[in-house]
Symmetry: C2
Subunit: 134 residues, 2 copies
Amino acid sequence: MEARGIHHLGLAVVDLDEAIDTYEKLFGGQLEHRDELADQGVEAASVLVGESRVELLAATGPDTPVGKFLAKRGPGMHHVAYRVDDVGAALRDLASAGAELIDTEPRRGLFGLQVAFVHPDAIHGVLTEVVSDG
Amino acid sequence: MEARGIHHLGLAVVDLDEAIDTYEKLFGGQLEHRDELADQGVEAASVLVGESRVELLAATGPDTPVGKFLAKRGPGMHHVAYRVDDVGAALRDLASAGAELIDTEPRRGLFGLQVAFVHPDAIHGVLTEVVSDG
């Protein structure tokens, strides 16, 4: 499978407004999307930093995936997402190569993207997502 | 300051050869550079993943910055580097904006790059580097 490049870097943050402000002020970031997904327990913003993108993730409560991550590790890098042409095909290739998958089928992610997560144990401790715009 | 985009994502790994192999096999990664910097206690490889780049960092021993990181947190994401036009100017802008710096002057980084690190406390727990090719 050929990943096309980093689609975004996912960062767990405590305060979404403060984090957006930091990326705007320090790196010239531009807010692209912002959304709250109550069912996923996350309030998220995507911020363009030059040609790249960071996805800022705040928890809507402590008993959510991002809330638990923050309690355990504190704010910081959460995952990296690679752009692929076809998430379903990427998952088949990853599975054939022996990678353990979290999502065995593409699912709808933030901001309307098709996404799937690969287990960090398959990739040296890095929680990795594959993403397509389709 | 305007960052131009993500120059690379720095990943701490236990075994450099295995990690290179993983990025080649799972994501079509292409080894770009490889180097051992005894004085920095690191053996590093830069791997192109599509239009992006990951920098794989293994420790030459336990009593090195990457060795201590691995002992404390395990393998995983270590830092993100943004490409800037001029590292010195970026540092002046970051300092004026109140960001705490690790390097107050540009220094020579891996693979001949000009680099400087910003303190993770300034950026919501994310160890952040600014980089130029110059």
